[in-house]
Symmetry: D2
Subunit: 147 residues, 4 copies
């Protein structure tokens, strides 16, 4: 990796920690007049991958969101390669760290050749729907998130 990304210490070991991913086929409506994929679109893909990740981990289910919802506190994306209509991406997600009621999520996008084209991260805060205040993850949830 030529480019230094603040939230990645060593790219290879960082990359090797990902196991969960979802496949994203770029939609025509996600391009823009410059001719490539609009800069906003990777955040659509990160969100999609994040929600599927949280569903698998049991912290974003039809039942769980009645009581607690993980809210996005911040998000960032580094664009490593141009993306074009027709590309099919693998968007990887991992929990980089878990706090009492928050979560640092990392993202990696690979193109068809397996080349990193996107990286990202963002913090989630688990919020109690009724009170609007942070809700602690249970020990079981923390273990599932990190597994």
């Amino acid at each position: 990796m030529q480019k230094k990304i603040s939230y990645i210490e060593d790219f290879e070991s960082w990359k090797n920690e990902f196991t969960f991913y979802t496949e994203i086929k770029i939609r025509f409506s996600e391009t823009d007049m410059i001719g490539h994929v609009n800069n906003v679109s990777p955040f659509i893909y990160f969100e999609q991958a994040r929600i599927e990740f949280m569903m698998e981990k049991g912290i974003f289910t039809e039942k769980s969101i009645q009581t607690t919802i993980p809210i996005v506190a911040d998000l960032q994306c580094d664009y490593l390669e141009q993306l074009y209509f027709g590309n099919v991406l693998k968007i990887y997600v991992k929990a980089n760290s878990v706090g009492n009621s928050s979560l640092d999520i990392h993202y990696l996008g690979l193109n068809e050749e397996g080349k990193p084209c996107l990286t990202g991260r963002g913090r989630l805060v688990n919020i109690d729907v009724k009170s609007g205040t942070p809700a602690k993850f249970t020990e079981e949830e923390r273990q599932r998130i990190l597994s």
Copy 2:
């Protein structure tokens, strides 16, 4: 008007019946790789104008949507002129007809020169949130919608 549109009898008199409109500034993300505004985007603008129209008519308010929600049954759009980034449109909305529990909404988009660039229509059905069945408009609502 060179083009015959099935839901418009006489274009001039149809056009003259509109009074409500909202102004739409096209977003960069709403263009596509062909270089103009994506074909999906006018439906974003119709929806925005429709919701503001329904809010003004009192059939889509924070309170009303607790009990009844107007659901879109169908939608159509005719593209009369190419749209480009930077265009500011006026999207007009009117209730073409009101039934017991449904509504035929018509749309007209004008560009900066006042030239029609979009027309459209679509049917809404007023639905009772609890039962999921059609909910009749009150006489007062019908009068407000048509006023």
Copy 3:
């Protein structure tokens, strides 16, 4: 089918004519505050399916769009079933008729149970990029489109 749709004579025979389809996984960003899939989103799916259909038919390729581009003249959608996040749809496309330089495209969306949830249609006009005027399809193109 309970609902009469103007562009469908007999639903079963209309449905049986479709063979081309693309699979669409609904994105979280394509839902809205009402809790289901936003009314605009099916037009994203129709567009995606239409472009893949045109690519297969050879009338929307990297090379062909240098000289001619099929432009959307009108679009319509009938919403038969509510759509929710997590749904995976099959969006079918067919050319209902082909003219000298235009095309009537029909759409059918099926949900996971194979139940029709969306239908639609829209006219495309093939445009010469340089002159901006309609460009005739070659006999070969017409045959490919209808095959």
Copy 4:
């Protein structure tokens, strides 16, 4: 400001450096099933404000993008307040620093009460369209960007 944001030293002086802004009315399609504005949408608003800013500075005009295009290298957003349909935001943009061929852009979103609801930043690299390599800003462009 309760929250520490890495790219902001002193919030008040950072905030006072903004002068350019654009007004954004949230679209209904930009909400999601959680009931508020989707997390992706602020990046639509940042992009819109960034492009208008670059147009004013003369580095993104119909003519200039024939030869050089500013490409987004990275983007980040901090979400300070929940956003809802109906909100009208002011999105401020400034050039935090200008290099030979790159630009660090900062963003601030204020809600109707003038309260900061979004902050962000991202780097742009000015690219020569033909060669695909970085293109230096002229001295005149740098002065316009920083003015």
